[in-house]
């Protein structure tokens, strides 16, 4: 995935200001940034959910905005803060996504069962997705993104509000996916997750990439958290403020 000069303005606020990003094929790429840095905006523009004011987004050689049909076939998306068609049961939702992607019914059935089984969502469970817990919602969202066997996965905050057990499961699945030749882009502000999983990292602040490269080159000798706080320019508590606490 390669993003070139992406710009997005909301009213007068510039959310993303001329962002360039290269995700090499076969990498596990972590997009780090504080809240409001433009992670979700960037990923939305990269997958065709939000029209950029300027710039291009290429996925595996196809331009997302001039050739959407070809590009959209190749990736799967787990958006954050976006509802799913949550009045369907898990199995119905997977079948819906499969058929929407133009897959044949037999493949959809077989893969949905497998996914529901592996993700421990229950193959015969009729509970509607709206009644799922937060972790289950993330898992069914991931299943929907994986169903058509994409070569690129774009996951926005896949570990937010997920319990440790589900998180470990999601991690294993993603690692297996990358080993099998897939590419993953994850956004997060949880350092530990990124440090453990990713081969490449980019740090995003105020709508621009501040630092990008392999995990080793970005981190150097320090911990990723120190690098992150320094790059973003956060302050540390000195003890003089909030004395009433």
């Amino acid at each position: 995935m390669s993003l070139r000069g992406l710009v997005k303005r909301f009213d007068r606020k510039i959310a993303v200001a001329g962002l360039d990003l290269d995700v090499p094929a076969g990498s596990f790429y972590g997009l780090l940034g504080p809240n409001g840095a433009g992670k979700t905006t960037t990923l939305s523009m990269a997958v065709g959910l939000l029209r950029p004011d300027a710039g291009r987004a290429m996925v595996l050689g196809y331009d997302v905005w001039t050739d959407p049909a070809a590009a959209k076939r190749l990736f799967g998306v787990l958006p954050d803060g976006v509802r799913m068609f949550d009045r369907l049961s898990g199995a119905e939702l997977l079948a819906y996504h499969g058929l929407l992607r133009g897959m044949d019914a037999a493949t959809v059935d077989q893969r949905s069962r497998e996914l529901l089984d592996v993700l421990e969502l229950g193959t015969a469970n009729r509970t509607l997705v709206v009644d799922y817990s937060a972790g289950m919602k993330k898992k069914i969202g991931l299943a929907c993104a994986l169903l058509h066997g994409p070569r690129l996965l774009v996951l926005d905050e896949p570990f937010e509000a997920v319990d440790p057990v589900s998180a470990a499961l999601i991690r294993d699945i993603l690692q297996r996916y990358v080993t099998g030749g897939g590419t993953v882009v994850v956004s997060s502000h949880v350092m530990e997750v990124v440090e453990r999983l990713c081969s490449h990292v980019a740090i995003l602040a105020d709508g621009a990439i501040r630092l990008q490269g392999t995990l080793a080159s970005v981190r150097g000798e320090r911990s990723l958290e120190d690098v992150f706080v320094q790059v973003v320019g956060g302050r540390t508590a000195t003890g003089s403020e909030l004395a009433w606490l």
Binding site: D11, V47, G48, L49, L50, R51, P68, A69, K72, R73, V77, P79, G81, V82, R83, M84, F85, D86, R87, L88, S89, A91, E92, L94, A95, Y96, H97, G98, L99, L100, R101, G102, D104, A105, V108, D109, S112, R113, L116, A124, N125, R126, T127, L128, D131, C144
Partner: protein, 525 residues
């Protein structure tokens, strides 16, 4: 404290308008509409005073006031929805006593165009009372008018809140459906009464009815000043008591249902872990639909019309209005084909904000790259699974009730033409003018300012569809008996043609605007 609520409401309205020119335009249109209603109402209610005619004043003020109160009751349910910008659930965590909350929300609900327009319109009654009975009568009438406004607001809030709470729990759904049907059914007798009265021009009987209504909470606030003018000052305290007691009762009712509304959806989880057989695909697809994109979209849409409260509420409301209005007309005047055009178009208006219902979930279809025309065809198919049988049933019932069974096929043709034309108008609107609905479980809730958008879009769609079917109506009128034979095929062909044109236009529009549409229907967080 109460002022804080009003300021919050005004601030929410202003912020909702900021940076969105079309919303601004809608708001201005709403203000103009409200203004013209106010001026017209003022003029009508002031006329009896200028004519110096006490009997006419007695009828006009009482019945007109009753109509306004009933309008406050029904219009939010059927057309506009409730402006829930002050969603009670958002105040649940604040340390507010229930009476403060009720008072604040009540006063805030008065800070809006409809309330101001109503107040202005009814002040015409004060003018009449002054002319007829002098200053004292005018003062009393002013008190009555203000109380009337409070009554309107309390009634509207209490009923919609109770209704929303009732529809939220699945078990009470059937009960609510029946209740709505009964309420809508009450329109029938009132219409019959009005029509019978108008036909016989029996003014004495109308005056008697008006005198009776003047003692009910509906007419009491608006007839107080006239009692003073007619030297019946003793009636004023009684009427005051009636009105105040009603307002108090309504507010109490509202506060009772509000408590439940504040608990939100937490309590409404259902026990549906039942095991179901079949493959995932067969669970999703409805029988007879193909295992394609179209099939998946249409099945999902059809399930949504039943599973989501907002859609179900609009479907139920349409069914009740769609069945009762033409039947009542058929009973009273014998012919209802004009009303059928209205019903067919109203059916299509149900799709005017089809993308708003699901909100950001539409992102799934955008990332899957569903072509615009497939998207729209499948949505219409899913909705029509419910609506088409209903329309045919309406035609059958109307034909049977009006004693013209032979006309049923041509009535179906007229309905199809109206439905198709309505869709042709409404589909582009649904792509172009979509707006976000708030994330609450109140099926009548709208975000600030979008009540007007909804109303204007519905009226626009209705009007355009009715104009669009004029050729059909003219043909039906001119051809007479021949129409009974060719009405069905011609109507279906007319509707289909219009639909094909409209859906192509809207589909191409959708292909260009998918991300913009997604942004439009995503609620601001």
């Amino acid at each position: 404290m109460v002022v804080g609520f009003v300021r919050l409401k005004v601030r929410l309205t202003v912020n909702g308008l900021r940076g969105q020119p079309w919303r601004m335009a809608l708001f201005v249109a709403g203000v103009l509409l409200g203004g013209s209603f106010a001026v017209a109402g003022y003029a009508i209610f002031a006329i009896p005073g200028l004519l110096d005619d006490a009997p006419i004043a007695g009828m006009l003020l009482t019945l007109g006031g009753t109509a306004i109160v009933l309008g406050w009751l029904f219009l939010p349910l059927v057309f506009f929805g409730v402006d829930e910008s002050l969603d009670p659930a958002r105040f649940a965590l604040l340390p507010l006593s229930r009476s403060t909350l009720i008072r604040g929300m009540f006063v805030a609900s008065l800070a809006g165009v409809p309330a101001l327009a109503t107040l202005l319109a009814t002040t015409g009654m004060v003018g009449t009372a002054v002319r007829l009975g002098g200053f004292l009568a005018g003062t009393v009438e002013l008190v009555g008018v203000v109380l009337g406004l409070l009554l309107c607001a309390a009634l509207s809030r209490a009923v919609t809140s109770a209704f929303a709470t009732a529809l939220r729990s699945r078990r009470a759904r059937d009960l609510a459906t029946v209740l709505l049907a009964v309420v809508a059914g009450l329109l029938g007798p009132i219409q019959l009464l009005a029509l019978a009265g108008a036909q016989h021009a029996d003014w004495d009987r109308i005056a008697a009815v008006a005198r009776l209504i003047a003692w009910t909470p509906l007419g009491a606030p608006y007839s107080m000043g006239l009692d003073v003018a007619a030297d019946q000052v003793w009636a004023v305290p009684i009427k005051l008591a009636v009105v105040l007691a009603t307002i108090g009762g309504l507010l109490w009712w509202w506060s009772a249902t509000l408590e439940r509304a504040m608990l939100g959806t937490a309590s409404s989880s259902r026990s549906s872990s039942a095991v179901r057989r079949g493959t995932p695909v067969s669970q999703l697809l409805l029988p007879l639909l193909p295992t394609t994109r179209f099939g998946a979209l249409a099945s999902r849409e059809a399930r949504y019309w039943w599973r989501e409260t907002r859609r179900r509420a609009s479907l139920i409301t349409f069914s009740v209005v769609g069945v009762f209005l033409p039947v009542v007309l058929a009973v009273t005047s014998g012919g209802a084909s004009g009303m059928l055009v209205f019903v067919g178009a109203l059916a299509a208006v149900g799709l005017a904000n089809q993308f708003g219902y699901e909100g950001s979930a539409y992102a799934a279809n955008v990332t899957a790259g569903v072509p615009g025309r497939v998207e729209l065809h499948s949505r219409v198919a899913g909705y029509s699974l419910y609506v088409l049988p209903l329309l045919i049933a309406i035609a059958a019932v109307v034909g049977a009730v009006s004693g013209r069974q032979a006309a049923i096929p041509s009535l179906v043709g007229m309905l199809s033409a109206a439905y198709g034309t309505g869709l042709a108008v409404v589909l582009p609107i649904s792509v172009r003018g979509a707006y976000a609905l708030p994330d609450t479980s109140n099926p009548f809730a709208l975000s600030a300012g979008s009540g007007l958008a909804k109303g204007l879009m519905s009226f626009g769609g209705l009007f355009a569809a009715i104009v669009g079917t004029i050729p059909m109506q003219v043909a039906a009128y001119l051809l007479g008996d021949v129409w009974l034979w060719i009405g069905l095929p011609v109507g279906v062909a007319y509707g289909t043609g219009a639909y094909v044109l409209g859906s192509r236009l809207a589909g191409d529009l959708l292909d260009l605007r998918m991300p913009e549409l997604l942004a439009a229907v995503t609620p601001n967080r």
